[in-house]
Amino acid sequence: MSDELSPGVDATETPSNVLCVCPAIGNAKNEHCRDLLTREGPPGTVLGVTVASSPGERMSEWSNVIDPVRTTLSFVDVSHGGRSAAMSADGFGGQNGAIVNVVEVDEVDLHRIGTEITTQLENAEKGPVVVCLDSLTDLLQFETARTLHRFLNVLTARVEEADAIAHYHIDADGHPDRTFDTLAPLFDATIRADSRSE
């Protein structure tokens, strides 16, 4: 595994935006996800952005580190239609009745996804505010690299403005190295857990 700070980023500060390059299959992705969620201690607010995975799957992966009763959980869910905007976490397998806000986006509409995320960031009341986007690989199936790059420029800036911290998953085995190298300047740091990082 390797951690790499972008040029100009103070090593003593927690990076606001982290690119997390891990194989989609295996434990590394979820282990890093849990670490990144709790870098600043127990998060007050977690915003998950799910494209291929579901909110329930993410919550299941986070169950050891997130207490949904103490942490405000929200999702911008791009993968499924027809879910209500606010529903009990019991709908995801039982989480002590915690209320989880789920905003459904029925298609990969980056404008809508972006404004939903920024709205959630603006409305977050409890810090630290942590964002997990899963994943850029899925977005790249629907959008060009150029469009996604421009979208992430806005999103990473908004995360920093909100004093939130975010990580963005991408499948280490799903893209050529130049894709990661092109994306890296958007982020304060890149975490790699694949054969290239060894």
Binding site: S6, P7, G8, L110, H111, G114, T115, T118, R146, T147, H149, R150, F151, N153, V154, A157, R158, E160, E161, D177, R178, T179, F180, D181, T182, L183, A184, P185, L186
Partner: protein, 183 residues
């Protein structure tokens, strides 16, 4: 401070309108004028950030919108006229001719930020792609990637500009959507 890519092109056949808007804008940005659509198209170059098109211009300004798409240009279009004209929905903003004195500065300033953001996003992506191509070679040679410093500087500049744009403007510019913006 004015850059070399922030000129405003005012295209109007009506002298009084041209004078009223240029008198407001010229203290802030370089202003060019055109009296016809052909004249406006001839004046288009990299220095133009905002084009003000008067609804009374004789020809339909389709070529202007086409030129922007074909050349992937960053200039923003301000429609000078009523908000229900046929090309309003393809312009970034609409300015009521009766409000030139009190609104044009604010609207053009916003459009300048949008145009600048668009240009810098394009530059940032181009440089990042170069970095993507050069990274492997530079790593093998033990050299820093030449574009990293410029990328870092550009990212800071982008973050400063986007902080002055609302979410609608920021995502519109980034994603290339151009819904109507009525002022």
């Amino acid at each position: 401070m004015a850059s070399t890519q922030d000129a405003v092109l005012v295209a109007s056949p009506e002298e009084e309108r041209r004078l009223s808007i240029t008198s407001v804008l010229r203290d802030h940005w370089p202003v060019r004028i055109a009296t016809t659509l052909d004249g406006a198209l001839d004046s288009l170059d990299e220095s133009i950030a905002v084009i003000v098109i008067d609804e009374s211009i004789e020809e339909a300004p389709s070529d202007l919108f086409a030129a922007r798409l074909e050349d992937e240009r960053s200039f923003q279009i301000l429609w000078l006229g009523t908000s229900d004209g046929p090309f309003v929905d393809r312009a970034e903003a609409v300015l009521d001719p009766a409000r030139v004195e009190d609104q044009s500065l604010t609207i053009v300033d916003r459009l300048q930020r949008r145009a600048r953001y668009d240009r810098l996003l394009t530059r940032f992506y181009e440089l990042a792609r170069v970095r993507g191509r050069d990274e492997e070679k530079a790593t093998a040679e033990g050299k820093p990637v030449a574009t990293d410093v410029e990328l870092d500087s550009l990212k800071r500049e982008l973050d400063e500009i986007v902080a002055e744009l609302d979410d609608e403007d920021a995502f519109e510019v980034a994603l290339g959507n151009r819904p109507p913006v009525n002022q």
